[in-house]
Symmetry: C2
Subunit: 266 residues, 2 copies
């Protein structure tokens, strides 16, 4: 249980990571997650904790999965205290874990692609862009919109109507001989996903050209194919968005398999 | 204690109100607070609760103050559950209370005015502007900046450098024969404070002209006087911001006393 005065609850003053765990209890993307968590902690001015604090929470979460593949969520908050918004001068951060099953995406959707809708409210810039902090109301509101329309996921645009990301996944598109993903740093919005980072490195290693910038929504009409990704679900092809449809590219299914292979027990 | 899966902690998926309580246990601005809370609940799509849920939490908080003037904070969250950002279809909201002393602002600062600094990061627009939701990292970060500089409070500007509000207070300025307060609805940013609303009504009743729009920062140079307000602290004159200084207007001290009188035991 959590102290009701915890600043994570009071102000969303903290961070989280959602980690995919294999059946043999390993967390292949842990170094990527930890790096983002530490980057977030620095941005929020949280005191640095011994890495064992995170590791023991992670181990407890993995143990709770009991040898099944699943998800462990870590939450790091600034802990209780302070005068209103002002943090205490000597904060005692809270580290929590939760364990649960992998989200279910059918074999069919993973092979034939999902339907993406266009969310009405833009994703506004913010100073803590890229980080996985606990201020997630824009995503909650967007996810409610996705459910109302019966889409599988929703695309969030910048106020200038540039595609940025989905509510809980990052976006890639195949465009004339290169891969493209939105430049979230330039947009100062969105979450720089661990899987997006892994894919960027993986594709670049394979000699592919990955371009990261901001483009108008209309660019997607020229894409050969689209996919979404995150570190829990992996790679999901997109077959439809508004009036546009795309085939599921073999290269996207290959990426999906490469990612799935990361999480096979060794 | 709070369920660690509560969406208030996970995503800041909820709202709060901070209520000033008099020595005889009354909450003079309760109707204003409740109205904003219900407006927020509608915007988030929370199920409507019987008003007794809020009232009994408030009563417990007031009782905990034990006959001293103080502050009761109410937190309303969407409760636990859901799949990721997607809320559960039948949420069970959480209502929490906390009780504490009034924040201390010295007699001297209340009479001679406080020093305001200019926060570096703008307050970006958001879809839930005006509401007192639990996504408060921009205010936490701004408040850290205020502390670093040793200011009493910090002024937050829009991305177009229009004054919007302070980290936990709203702004009013006296300008040639009228009172001015920033139009937060037009800016789509900030918290529409209960005290701001009360003052708007009070000043208008007294035949004063209250103008609400967006103006450049440079307008403040022409102001005859400035003050900040919120429902807990009341009215605080501002004597200095960056290179500008203002006298403490008698009319501001009169407003301060009118507000203080609201919270005297009857």
């Amino acid at each position: 249980m959590v102290d009701p005065r915890d600043r994570g609850l009071a102000y969303g003053d903290g961070l989280f990571e959602t980690l995919r765990v294999t059946a043999d209890g390993s967390v292949p993307l842990w170094p990527w997650h930890l790096r983002r968590l530490l980057r977030g902690a620095r941005a929020l001015g949280l005191p640095s904790l011994p890495e064992t604090r995170y590791l023991s929470a992670l181990e407890e979460g993995v143990a709770a999965l009991g040898g099944k593949p699943g998800v462990v969520k870590l939450i790091l908050t600034r802990g209780p205290g302070g005068r209103g918004y002002l943090p205490p001068s000597n904060p005692k951060p809270t580290v929590l874990w939760q364990a649960g099953p992998l989200p279910a995406w059918s074999h069919q959707l993973r092979e034939q692609g999902i339907v993406l809708g266009l969310c009405g409210e833009p994703l506004h810039p913010e100073s803590l862009a890229g980080l996985k902090h606990l201020n997630r109301l824009p995503q909650v509101q967007a996810r409610r919109e996705v459910a109302r329309h019966g889409w599988h996921e929703g695309l969030l645009l910048s106020p200038r109507r540039q595609p940025l990301e989905a509510t809980s996944m990052n976006l890639f598109a195949r465009l004339d001989g290169h891969w493209w993903t939105p430049d979230l740093q330039a947009a100062r919005a969105g979450v720089a996903g661990v899987m997006r980072e892994w894919l960027d490195e993986h594709l670049t290693e394979q000699g592919e050209n990955v371009v990261c910038d901001l483009r108008p929504l209309s660019q997607l009409a020229d894409a050969q194919g689209l996919f979404l990704c995150n570190s829990v679900v992996g790679v999901l092809p997109v077959r439809k968005l508004a009036q546009w449809q795309w085939p599921v590219l073999d290269s996207v299914l290959q990426l999906q398999h490469s990612v799935d292979a990361l999480f096979l027990p060794r």
